[in-house]
């Protein structure tokens, strides 16, 4: 019986990684949900747009590194984020102008816009791969760990070590800041309110003098910020690879729908729901039970609910279950 060790074990292998992964998903999911709520289509180019923003950030990071600029213990990529956001927003507005706006003005059905977004997905993917190549890129520098397992063991005298990577703390911290600013913006400012009104009822919003062009532009700008920050944080925490980013689109969609599509707060929580359930269900609890149970009752199998190969499948199964029982998501969707 050793509760402390067991708790540290869970913290180390489940809670901290899941919080970081969940934050990354949450940023992406809010991006999807905003586009869905205001522009009214499922954006299949989500993952690739995130990889575009990350790519720009990586290029700037390399440039800064070659100049010898760094942030000391923090990764240089943080400096590159604002510049990357500018490029990302420009790219998104260009795409909107040349591709999406035509269908929006024509009031095409959402399916057609989703199809168009597939075209954008192909193009963005090509641009990213042509510029930076399809390979794995690591662009992290600075201090890697805040607490190392060995240090922690020495400090506390416990058997289990706790490792906290600086990228994990950074991810959670930045996400909280970005998301709280976003919610403040949506709920308290006039522009945010006009966006919510537009999402709620387009015609009424137009009648009360809300400029749709402005709403759309601001939506893309916020989307650009979210996509870049989410993408860079994921890349810092793991690594940047265009194919992985494309694949990340799927859990992000799952998070957005689970939270209730069109509802930013739902998407935010949805990210954590997906991340936690993925890691909870695929973790092998053998060691945990070794600490929790008396010695003679030690389990002899891994006590793993699902093998880690099914990590992605877990989130999709949750999505299917949610779609079956609560098609509007856990938190009522489509309010914004």
């Amino acid at each position: 019986m050793d509760f402390l060790n067991a708790i540290i074990l869970l913290l180390n292998y489940i809670i901290v990684p899941a919080l970081a992964y969940g934050s990354q998903l949450a940023l992406g999911a809010i991006f999807v949900t905003l586009i869905y709520g205001i522009l009214r289509f499922a954006n299949f180019a989500t993952g690739d747009m995130m990889s575009f923003g990350t790519m720009v950030a990586i290029l700037f990071t390399w440039y800064f590194q070659s100049l010898g600029i760094s942030l000391g213990v923090l990764p240089t990529a943080l400096l590159a984020i604002p510049l990357a956001i500018v490029f990302m927003i420009l790219y998104m507005l260009t795409i909107d102008k040349f591709v999406f706006s035509y269908y929006r003005i024509k009031k095409s059905p959402p399916v057609q816009l989703a199809m168009v977004s597939i075209g954008v997905m192909f193009v963005t993917q090509a641009i990213v791969r042509i510029i930076i190549g399809p390979f794995d890129r690591r662009f992290f520098d600075g201090e890697k760990f805040i607490i190392k397992a060995n240090q922690f063991k020495e400090m506390t005298g416990l058997n289990e070590g706790l490792t906290i990577k600086s990228t994990q703390v950074l991810t959670i911290f930045l996400t909280i800041i970005v998301v709280s600013i976003l919610f403040w913006f949506l709920n308290k400012t006039k522009t945010g309110k006009s966006m919510r009104a537009y999402s709620d009822n387009e015609d009424l919003a137009l009648l009360s003098g809300i400029d749709p062009k402005r709403v759309v532009m601001i939506t893309w700008m916020i989307a650009g910020i979210l996509a870049t920050i989410g993408g860079v944080l994921y890349g810092l925490d793991k690594s940047f690879k265009p194919f992985t980013y494309f694949n990340n689109m799927l859990p992000i969609f799952a998070a957005a729908i689970v939270g209730g599509i069109g509802n930013p707060f739902g998407a935010f929580l949805g990210g954590y729901v997906i991340a936690f359930s993925e890691i909870f269900l695929t973790y092998a609890y053998k060691k945990f039970f070794m600490y929790m149970l008396p010695e003679n009752m030690e389990p002899n199998s891994l006590i793993q609910l699902l093998s880690t190969d099914y990590k992605f499948a877990v989130s999709f199964s949750i999505l299917v279950i949610v779609l079956l029982f609560r098609p509007s998501g856990i938190f009522k969707g489509k309010i914004l």
């Binding site: 192909f122 993917q125 090509a126 042509i130 190549g133 969609f253 190969d309 992605f312 779609l323």
Partner: protein, 456 residues
């Protein structure tokens, strides 16, 4: 005749392009492009039935393709007796348990009123069932995978000719479509797209990681072919005679008998692989033609009219007494079954099953590009889309290389920018697909060959 003019022109151009590849690159490449074009055409027809006839959006094409491929493995590979001995019974028992779970859930659903208790019952049935499954299957899977893991390590199949798998694949994919349709068809269009995409990912995850079923990512290679092997052909007298006859003009130019013999054997080796590809083309063409006749008949039948009515105005069709839900489910199954056939055909053609290669980009989104580009609702358009897009997908790299060289001809060969561009030639295909799709969506939203219904 006049109304078919554009169809005939489009197809003539397409065939002409493939022939050009044959002349300028090689006939081997031309026929392998042609074969994959035919397979793509079958997939596109399946997607077109769902999207063009009924307006259902199905992004799960990858899943059905993989199931078709799985069928090819399960039908054609000879059974692994040892594996069956050590774990076959338990696996059969697991199947029985799954059936039991399904039926008990059905029973609960039918005979209990809507309440919290019902949900608890269902949840507990699933949880208990899964635990029993884990307990029964765990050791069995372990011992099955331990049987010669380098070569087999799975249950194997039935050992039948692989051609049967085309039908079995259709049934597999149709079965999956039945389940997905029951779950997801009530959803709005874009939700349905996301849901099917994610479900197909689940299917791929299962095929990839259940090694006892089809070796997972370890791949199954050397599947039996329905057509002759090159090596056997090269020693057949009739084939050598045929090649000699075909290339008489070339051979006559060589004066010495020895030189003639050497040239002939070289020609035999080359043409044997072309001959194999032609055999495949014949088989695939038969499937495409049969499917085309059936789908064309269906399109002009009362049933096709009803489907179009449902697509164009669901409520009106419902008010006229058409069972929209049932028809949607039916067409979802039919379309998916056709995709399943294509999946089995593809594995038959490759002779190997590699679950790791099933990626949504290639097997879902590309097929959708084909449907949109070709012309949704028009079977000829769908087939043309399959041909044109696959041709571009393969030939994009040479075209891109040509264009890059053309535009950067002013730069030195060692220019870093030029070298970088030449290195990234393979990714220009994505660019071409994307721009092609966007242009078609914008300026010809109904595709190259738009839907044209002329009731006689």
């Amino acid at each position: 005749m006049k109304q078919y003019a554009n169809v005939i022109t489009a197809y003539a151009i397409m065939i002409g392009l493939i022939i050009l590849v044959g002349i300028f690159q090689s006939w081997n490449i031309a026929f392998s492009i042609f074969n994959l074009c035919l397979i793509s055409a079958v997939m596109t027809m399946g997607a077109n039935i769902q999207w063009g006839y009924a307006g259902l959006i199905n992004f799960g094409i990858m899943g059905y393709t993989a199931l078709g491929g799985l069928a090819a493995v399960l039908v054609s590979v000879p059974p692994v007796r040892e594996a069956w001995q050590v774990g076959g019974l338990s696996m059969l028992f697991c199947l029985f348990i799954i059936v039991l779970i399904v039926f008990s859930i059905r029973y609960v659903l039918k005979n209990f009123q809507k309440s919290k208790r019902k949900n608890i019952y269902i949840a507990s049935i699933i949880v208990i069932g899964l635990i029993i499954l884990r307990i029964v299957s765990g050791p069995a899977i372990h011992s099955i995978e331990a049987v010669e893991p380098a070569k087999t390590g799975f249950l194997g199949g039935l050992g039948l000719p692989i051609i049967f798998s085309w039908i079995v694949g259709a049934f597999f994919a149709g079965g999956l479509a039945y389940i997905i349709g029951k779950v997801a068809l009530g959803l709005r269009a874009d939700y349905l797209a996301i849901a099917t995409l994610l479900i197909s990912e689940i299917v791929i995850a299962i095929i990839k990681h259940e090694d006892w079923l089809a070796r997972g990512v370890k791949n199954v290679i050397g599947l039996k072919r329905p057509v002759p092997y090159e090596v056997n052909l090269q020693s057949e007298q009739w084939f050598i005679d045929l090649v000699a006859k075909w290339n008489r003009g070339v051979l006559d130019l060589i004066s010495t008998a020895e030189g003639k013999q050497a040239a002939l054997s070289q020609l035999v080796i080359e043409s044997s692989s072309v001959f194999v590809k032609i055999c495949y083309s014949g088989l695939f063409l038969t499937v495409v033609v049969i499917l085309l006749i059936i789908t064309q008949k269906a399109l002009y039948s009362p049933w096709g009219r009803m489907m179009r009515a449902i697509r164009d105005n669901e409520e009106a069709a419902n008010a006229m007494g058409k069972n929209v839900v049932k028809q949607h489910l039916l067409i979802f199954i039919l379309g998916s079954a056709i995709v399943g056939i294509a999946g089995a055909m593809m594995v038959t053609h490759d002779g190997l099953f590699t679950p790791g290669s099933y990626r949504p980009m290639r097997y879902t989104f590309l097929i959708w590009v084909m449907v949109i580009v070709g012309g949704s609702g028009n079977n000829f358009g769908a087939i043309l889309g399959g041909f044109a897009v696959w041709f571009l997908w393969i030939e994009a790299a040479p075209i891109a290389l040509f264009l890059i060289n053309l535009f950067t001809s002013g730069l030195a060969d060692t220019n870093a920018f030029k070298l970088h561009l030449i290195d990234s030639v393979p990714y220009f295909r994505f660019l071409m697909m994307g721009i092609g799709l966007l242009l078609i969506m914008r300026y010809r939203p109904k595709g190259i060959l738009p839907e044209k219904i002329n009731i006689k």
